[in-house]
Amino acid sequence: MLPGDLLLRVETPARYVNGEINAAVKPHARVRIAFCYPDVYQVGMDHLGTLILYHVANSHEEVAVERCFAPWPDCAQQLRHLGLPLSTLETGTPLRDCDIVGFTLQYELTYPTLLAMLHMGGIPVRAAERRGSDPIVIAGGPGATNPEPLAPFIDLFCIGDGEELLEELLARYEAVTDDLGPRARWGLDERQQALAALAEIEGVYWPAAYEVHEIAGQLIPQPGRGGKEKIVARLVRDLDAAPFPTSPPVPWVETVHDRGQLEIARGCTRGCRFCHAGMFYRPVRERSPEILARQAAELVDNTGYDELSLVALNCPDHRCIEEVIEAVQGAVAGRGVSLGLPSLRVDTFSVDLARKIAQVRKGGMTFAPEAGTQRLRDVINKNVTEEDLLTAAQAAFEAGWLTVKLYFMIGLPTETAEDVAGIADLIAQVAATGRRALGRKAGRLQINVSIAAFNPKPHTPFQWCGQAPWEYLERARKRLQMAVRDRAVRLSFHDFDQSLVEAAISRGDRRVGEAIEAAWRAGAYLDAWSEFFDVGRWRQAMERTGRAPEEWAGREIALDAPLPWDVIDTGVTKEFLAGEYEKAMKGQATPDCREWECHSCGASRRVPGCRGVIPDAQCR
């Protein structure tokens, strides 16, 4: 990192200084891995997946995993100016000198930053241009379920839950270096052998082992030598037995969330048809209250955090949520620690839970009805009724909340003007409920509404649907702004241009990789930050693909067409997704398989006798 006096010239220098409590510094490890987060420290340090894998790999004595984040532009410029490579935090090792450099793919707009980090770290950006001795570049996370846009740059993708996969990867890497000698002395042949050996691990995709063929206007990867027919995503079955970081590095600077995290469950089977996580992470895996209580106590002992956040896609869905809360509260009692439940359902049970844990009320109670009419909520399979929302909102106001946050999407498949008007109606009804419930305090009512463009994601029932055109979204925005005139309501809209590029990348094939590289070369960096995002730059970059971003994002794909991401088997079958798509078009809902019956989503191929949740024993 930067020499001392130069840190005086960059913003928030403390994010570059390392030495946090619990950071693992192993200068003499045999294998050195950089875990890179393609965004700044304050964002990346909150990423639980990275913290989990940091813990898994660092529990091997011989292995050092070190963190690396994207430097803020002022710091990146200093590095360039001084000719210094981007390095890891823990030991200041340049990325080019690490054995493995891993990235997590959380958000498509971070992809140019990933390329920038490789470049700043002294690693050739294109996989094909790497020398034998260059680090092996891997990537995982939800974005890896459509690896094709990054295929030209990544040596190996790791698909699915990382805990066990990483263990196997480390063991295989050590075996490979026993055979082939240390990486720094590898030639191209040794590198190929190493990649082939690592690609044998279940869940690992080696894009260079696939040839792409254009079918129905899309480049579809087909296995060549060393390529597997399907890459089956990894699944950690037993969360209680899975490793969990109870002494993660404690950041010196304030991060976005800045609190301890306890993962109480992974996955969701509610089946919202737009939701990538709800399809990718199946079935649900729950941690037991006893384990969580122990982890909570350790987390506070080791970090000193004053807030613990219970993490799950949907916290109240944990079948023992009340026991979980009781056990965790008991474990940290008297230590000035508050609990947070960031993900809630739209129901009074959730409000009740939040009230019980005395969740700080200033932040507001969040509900995500997503669509304005029952018809459209059935299409997207958001099993929430207007009554659910209004009773939940009423319960929140009665419990003392003055602020409610609502999340909606526009541009959803089959959406009409009536559905958009329905959003305004629903907001008005929540406002009226609030005023009635708050009585004399009604003047302090606040409803913050966040509206995003629907983004079709691979491996969801809506993967075949196009994103609505910008003009449509703009019209809907104006209509909502006209319709919602209540002073207590604050409407905010996500940047539609950012959503457009996000969708174009997430539905792209290998050609989109050319555009990502062109955008990076033209200066795209930290594009998830609206102040740095430039849609004009992306339009120009996308010319390389022969298609405008609108064509990538907006194209409707035939149900029987092969998809660039078909090579990845997330666990849920394409037949199930297609069935869900067809039910959506008919406005039919699919209930949660945990409460209803199995819908044969495909998860039972890996979890025989699947009932939607592991373990499937009822709570005491």
Binding site: V17, W252, E254, D301, G304, V360
Partner: protein
């Protein structure tokens, strides 16, 4: 002594080395977390959002070091100072380590009250470079102790002089080191940056000074 009297720990700590880049808020958070890890029984505020009862001395700028910074923690129960020192030793890195701790009744006046002056050692460089003696000369004209013949300055710079108790500069090889006692109270606060602006104003040439090292050595009342 009255049983109801609370006790407090006056923790003197340093902020040095690479941790000098922490902001004041970063330090307060780090100290609170260290106390919680160390299981020192600090009292909490009442109410919905309970906070540890901690107060800190005047903020130290990002990048500046401090050798005797102050944190006062109201205790839930009387705890031996040595025990607090020992527990914190395992929870704070050397660069943010505890220098000493005393435990005293909380009904006395807080040691943070009436801190008026801080002693600083500030290493400066100039752009463009000027002979160090000129900087020393300009520094000598600052502060309340500077005697007659000092040209009076207008506005802010003159105000700065009232916030400087003593200032002198010494040449150390290529470097100039300023030793200054400047205000830290609400009504006389002066940052090292503002001190340098005052020196620049005295130089009567367009010269930019910046500090490469700034150490707050301690406080005066």
């Amino acid at each position: 002594m009255n049983e109801a009297v609370r006790w407090r720990a006056v923790i003197t700590y340093r902020k040095t080395g690479r941790l000098r880049y922490l902001s004041h808020l970063d330090v307060t958070r780090a100290m609170e977390r260290a106390l919680r890890r160390a299981a020192v029984r600090v009292a909490y505020t009442q109410g919905y959002n309970q906070r540890m009862r901690l107060s800190f001395g005047p903020p130290l700028p990002v990048g500046a070091e401090g050798l005797r910074e102050l944190c006062v923690a109201v205790l839930e129960e009387r705890t031996a100072a040595a025990e607090i020192v020992e527990r914190l030793r395992h929870q704070l890195p050397q660069e943010l380590g505890c220098v000493e701790t005393t435990v005293e009744p909380d009904d006395r006046q807080s040691p943070l009250k009436h801190l008026r002056w801080a002693n600083w050692r500030i290493v400066v460089v100039s752009d463009p470079p000027v002979p160090p003696e000129q900087i020393c000369g300009a520094v000598g004209l600052l502060g309340r102790q500077a005697t007659g013949g000092t040209p009076r300055l207008e506005g802010e710079e003159n105000d700065a002089s009232n916030r400087i108790l003593r200032a002198e500069a010494v040449v150390n090889g290529e470097e100039v080191e300023i030793l200054a006692t400047i205000g830290v109270a609400e009504d006389n606060y002066l940052s090292p940056d503002k001190l340098l602006r005052a020196v620049e104003a005295r130089l009567q040439r367009p010269i930019a000074l910046r500090w490469t090292r700034a150490v707050r050595v301690g406080f005066e009342r």
